[in-house]
């Protein structure tokens, strides 16, 4: 029946439908043969929910032709089902799979808001290409009132920074569906509608999904000096969820007052889950008291809280409390030890480094891994310790040691990588070795990598190498 196509600036775009068969793709091959100017073939499959298998077979012969002329083939808008077929027949790597939303009419694009996986990406596309047609279509959708579509219409207008339709967003605060309400609340925050701020406070205590969270975020974005105090009241709400939401908002505002309120709350709060959130958010403040509070929490009775505090200290990583933290590496909870080790990244104190190395043999596997990782980020670490670990029986230890070596002693790491690349029995380690070789690109690295291809059995490594240096 013939394939519709056009050629523009050396790009051949062919529009495929599900009925197309072998002879149609052979026709595409003929077009390519007859047009020497073609440098890129785009096969648009947005109309195809399935595809004839003979068509796919024909596509492979086009690929062969394309390879001779170094033409790339892009398959556009391939759905999940066809992707699976391509994968199971190992054809996927022959083509570049891409989405190109300009293939679709506006109506069909907005229909994709129904699809949970695609909605966000389509919304991004529409906001990037926002014009009067798109705007009018989105307003029409909002007026029609289907909540699934309204949610994404609002988000798209907000993303496009449409400041002309604030009344529309305000009106959707009244929507009957939580997902629409939450979208309207966020968008009002994005466009800086301070007039709506007071109203958003009433949504902070909503029981609906995502509504209080969105209100907290937007209140923070719209906040002035007075809002920390207003939000602090919610830290004493009887509903734990509301207390957590207030913690989020205060941590976003992140001023001195907000800190004082959270520091006060961690003293009084009884519920473990809320205390954990407090610890996580207190870690985000620059106030020097924040570190001290987290340090105290390291000795709390609750293990998850201690882990959160240790993780917070690891994120702060400001070189304070090194002596206390290094001892926590050997903590009886191995995740506290893990984060305590991570908090030491960047230290240069030889004494602390020795202590870390000293703990190594007595701690559990995850803490060992954190120690090795951190040693890669500390100046003055001797390569010998890390080198001894690339012989370890655990594959992750070997991999992590190789990585840390590459950060501290690149030439040593390269020598090790070139050896392990051929000999290590774990693909994880060989994969890391390939990365190190690719990063450093020593003379003849491509020959070295290619030589291994015939013996390599792991498909991830094969794909990785071929992707980098070609077949």
């Amino acid at each position: 029946m013939g394939v519709k196509y056009e050629i523009k600036n050396g790009v051949l775009t062919a529009h495929i439908n599900p009925e197309h068969d072998l002879e149609d793709i052979q026709e595409v091959a003929k077009i390519v043969e007859n047009h020497g100017e073609v440098i890129l073939i785009r096969v648009d499959m947005h109309r195809c929910s399935y595809i004839q298998s003979r068509f796919l077979a024909g596509l492979v012969s086009v690929k062969k032709l394309a390879m001779v002329r170094k033409i790339t083939i892009e398959l556009l808008n391939v759905n999940d089902h066809i992707t699976q077929v391509l994968q199971s027949t190992n054809l996927q790597k022959l083509f570049v799979l891409k989405d190109d939303y300009s293939s679709y009419p506006l109506e069909a694009l907005c229909e994709k808001f129904y699809d949970t996986e695609k909605a966000a990406i389509v919304s991004e596309y529409l906001s990037a290409n926002y014009d009067d047609d798109i705007k009018n279509k989105l307003i029409e959708i909002i007026h029609a009132g289907n909540p699934l579509l309204v949610e994404y219409a609002l988000l798209t207008m907000g993303r496009a920074q449409d400041y002309d339709n604030i009344e529309i967003y305000r009106k959707e605060l009244e929507a009957n569906e939580a997902s629409v309400k939450a979208a309207a609340i966020l968008v009002l925050g994005w466009v800086g509608d301070t007039q709506s701020k007071e109203r958003l406070y009433s949504y902070l205590t909503s029981k609906e999904i995502n509504v209080p969270e969105a209100a907290a975020a937007s209140i923070a974005l719209l906040s002035d000096d007075t809002d920390s105090e207003k939000l602090a009241k919610y830290l004493r709400d009887e509903d734990a969820r509301i207390r957590v939401v207030a913690i989020y908002a205060l941590s976003l505002i992140n001023d001195t007052k907000a800190f004082e309120y959270l520091a006060e709350a961690i003293k009084e709060e009884k519920e473990e889950q809320v205390r954990i959130q407090l610890a996580k958010k207190i870690a985000l403040f620059k106030d020097e008291r924040a570190g001290r509070i987290l340090l105290e929490l390291l000795d709390d009775g609750s293990i998850p809280l201690r882990e959160a505090a240790a993780s917070g200290l690891a994120r702060k990583n400001n070189g304070e409390f090194t002596d206390i933290l290094v001892d926590k590496v050997a903590d009886n909870d191995n995740w506290v030890g893990f984060f305590a080790a991570k908090s030491l990244a960047g230290i240069e104190d030889e004494r602390v480094i020795k202590k870390l190395e000293g703990f190594y043999d007595s701690v559990e596997q995850n803490v060992k891994l954190a120690i090795i990782e951190v040693l890669g980020k500390c100046k003055g670490v001797d390569a010998a310790f890390l080198l001894s670990k690339i012989e370890d029986e655990n594959e992750d230890i070997r991999k992590e040691a190789l990585n840390s070596l590459s950060l501290m002693h690149a030439p040593v790491a390269l020598t090790a990588a070139m050896k392990l690349y051929n000999t290590d029995n774990s693909w994880l380690v060989r994969y890391k070795a390939v990365n190190i070789i690719l990063e450093q690109k020593p003379l003849g690295y491509d020959t070295l990598l290619r030589a291994r291809l015939k013996d390599e059995t792991n498909k991830y490594i094969l794909e990785h190498i071929i992707g980098e240096i070609g077949e």
Binding site: E177, F339, Q365
Partner: protein
């Protein structure tokens, strides 16, 4: 919305996709990286991790790693669907199909949801029937079938996360009990639904499920080739009573697949009726 996005690097991606593959048989393609980031970022953040590498170590070395693997597989392999999806047909079922069947003297009505995935569709039907008081007027059974036994197990559990409630009206939530981040369908709604595992394309499904009055089979035919479509529709034809109603997804049609059904335009949706 409201998810933290922790980024996954290339080595982490291959390691994690291998773990997922070894434990579920599902292979993530390169272009699905964003899906892992979107669905797992919150979990990582709950566990205090800021990188996927740390999470991979948790999966390998924590004492609760078995349990975490289950959580991981649940989070990444389930196709997200939601309650009241393509609501037009559901409303038509409540306002017309079931009342008409009752009026015609039917005492026992069977509604089949296949594939049922994690149960949002059959439970939506149960909720709407209950709210309309229709369970008191006839003996209505909802049968829900999926080829994947793991999603059926989840459906039976009846536990849902926020994503399943896209666009539902506020009062819909009264049908669920809240526990932390989870929403559990209420027991009285659950007991009207019978779950099982089966393949809708094979003839054996006909005897396995028996006669039914209404079939919901939405957004799956598009994934079958012509042969698969025809076999499935033939099964449906054999299973439906007279009258028999078939609901397909809004982008699906029986055009060129079967001429044994009549298309009916029901206002906001399309319903197929078995030819008498």
């Amino acid at each position: 919305m409201l998810i933290n996005s922790i980024k996954i690097n290339d080595q982490e991606f291959v390691e994690l996709k291998d773990i997922i593959y070894q434990n579920s048989g599902i292979m993530f393609a390169e272009n699905k990286k964003y899906l892992l980031e979107n669905r797992l970022s919150k979990r990582l953040s709950d566990l205090n991790f800021t990188t996927f590498k740390d999470y991979i170590y948790y999966l390998k070395y924590d004492i609760k790693k078995r349990q975490e693997l289950d959580t991981l597989i649940n989070l990444v392999t389930i196709n997200e669907t939601y309650f009241l999806r393509e609501r037009g047909q559901l409303d038509y079922l409540i306002s017309h199909i079931v009342p008409e069947l009752i009026k015609a003297g039917k005492r026992s009505i069977k509604i089949w949801s296949a594939p049922c995935s994690t149960g949002e569709e059959p439970y939506s039907i149960s909720i709407l029937l209950k709210n309309a008081g229709l369970f008191d007027k006839a003996n209505i059974e909802i049968i829900a079938t999926d080829i994947n036994s793991e999603v059926v197990a989840l459906a039976k559990k009846g536990e849902y996360r926020q994503a399943s409630f896209r666009g539902v009206p506020a009062d819909f939530m009264k049908n669920f009990d809240v526990q932390g981040q989870s929403y559990f369908i209420k027991e009285e709604l659950k007991r009207h639904v019978r779950f099982n595992t089966g393949n809708i394309t094979t003839p054996s499904i006909v005897s396995m499920i028996g006669k039914v009055d209404v079939i919901f089979c939405r957004n799956v035919l598009i994934y079958f080739d012509m042969d698969g479509k025809q076999r499935t529709i033939k099964n449906f034809h054999n299973m439906l009573t007279d009258p028999g109603y078939l609901c397909l997804g809004h982008s699906e049609t029986l055009n060129k697949i079967s001429d044994e059904f009549v298309m009916k335009n029901a206002g906001t949706c399309i319903i197929y009726l078995k030819k008498q």
